[in-house]
């Protein structure tokens, strides 16, 4: 394995721990401080948050309690996807709590709690996103924020199959 390539590709696990939550779990071969900083340093955020979906054009991080964050990507289809919110808890390198709004659905404010747990040089990162209700979570799924999952998706799949 090349030393500048991560070792755990494809290992993120997405689960639905309750009706109004989504949990994403992923381990990294790096100290917690470094992983935490990767979530709170604009230049680093820009390098990974877009994944293969688009280019990150803005990564504002006002890292203090009540400070704003706003991350924007220009998706490959040309449209803008913007998320923003406020930092509520900052406990480097253990825990980061922030509100989160997908700006196309501004009434559905979620709270995301990201924890970084280091053991033997491996940092397990858990991103728990809690929506105001199951309906909001499912709306998030259907609107493309949080897909691949259960009910809304099954319905969509069924609809597409029946009618295409």
């Amino acid at each position: 394995m090349n030393s500048t390539t991560g070792n755990r590709h494809g290992s993120a696990v997405v689960t639905l721990p309750s009706d109004d939550e989504i949990l994403i779990t992923r381990a990294f071969d790096a100290p917690a401080e470094l992983v935490f900083d990767a979530w709170t340093t604009p230049d680093i955020v820009k390098r990974w948050w877009g994944g293969d979906r688009g280019e990150v054009t803005e990564a504002q991080v006002d890292l203090w309690i009540g400070g704003r964050w706003r991350w924007v990507m220009t998706a490959n289809g040309g449209f803008e996807v913007a998320f923003s919110g406020e930092y509520h808890e900052i406990d480097r390198p253990h825990r980061l709590v922030k509100t989160e709004v997908f700006e196309l659905v501004p009434d559905a404010e979620a709270v995301s709690t990201t924890t970084f747990e280091e053991a033997d040089g491996v940092t397990t990162t858990r991103i728990l996103i809690r929506y105001p209700s199951q309906q909001h979570r499912d709306a998030a799924i259907a609107s493309g924020m949080e897909g691949g999952l259960q009910v809304a998706l099954d319905h969509l799949e069924e609809l597409v199959r029946q009618t295409v």
């Binding site: 030393s3 500048t4 390539t5 991560g6 070792n7 755990r8 590709h9 494809g10 290992s11 993120a12 997405v14 994403i24 992923r26 990294f28 071969d29 790096a30 470094l34 992983v35 990767a38 680093i44 390098r47 990974w48 948050w49 877009g50 994944g51 293969d52 979906r53 490959n76 289809g77 040309g78 449209f79 803008e80 196309l104 659905v105 990162t125 309906q135 499912d138 709306a139 998030a140 799924i141 259907a142 609107s143 493309g144 924020m145 949080e146 897909g147 691949g148 999952l149 809304a152 998706l153 319905h155 969509l156 799949e157 069924e158 609809l159 597409v160 029946q162 009618t163 295409v164």
Partner: protein, 116 residues
């Protein structure tokens, strides 16, 4: 999948719970406004309003039969939404794989810098 960031595209149309329920019902077959009112427990103006939004983004089409208007799902218009939603897990995987690479690179750099 080009789209403009307006509130009137297929993506934002299905972001509303009642409209998804409406699509679910229409997914089982054509229906009139009255059918939808009965099955969803919404008022007629509410159903009409949601139908108008769904028609505007072409998720729903309509045909007239005598004085009745039958609404149905326009599947192909829903395809991009479905594709987008299905890719959530892979989006996070790709995103965190990128982060994995960045972390590996940062550590390699740090190690190199510590060497004399």
């Amino acid at each position: 999948m080009a789209r403009t960031p307006t509130t009137t595209d297929a993506f934002s149309a299905v972001a509303e719970g009642s409209r998804r329920e409406l699509l679910d019902v229409l997914g089982t077959g054509e229906a009139t406004v009255n059918d939808l009112v009965q099955r969803l427990g919404l008022s007629q103006p509410q159903v009409s309003k949601h139908l108008a939004v769904l028609r505007a983004v072409r998720l729903v089409s309509v045909r007239a039969e005598g004085r009745r208007r039958w609404y149905r799902v326009n599947g192909p218009a829903l395809q991009p939404v479905y594709e987008w939603a299905r890719s959530f897990e892979s989006t996070w995987n790709t995103r965190l794989d990128r982060l994995d690479d960045v972390l590996a690179e940062l550590q390699a750099k740090e190690k190199k810098e510590r060497q004399p």
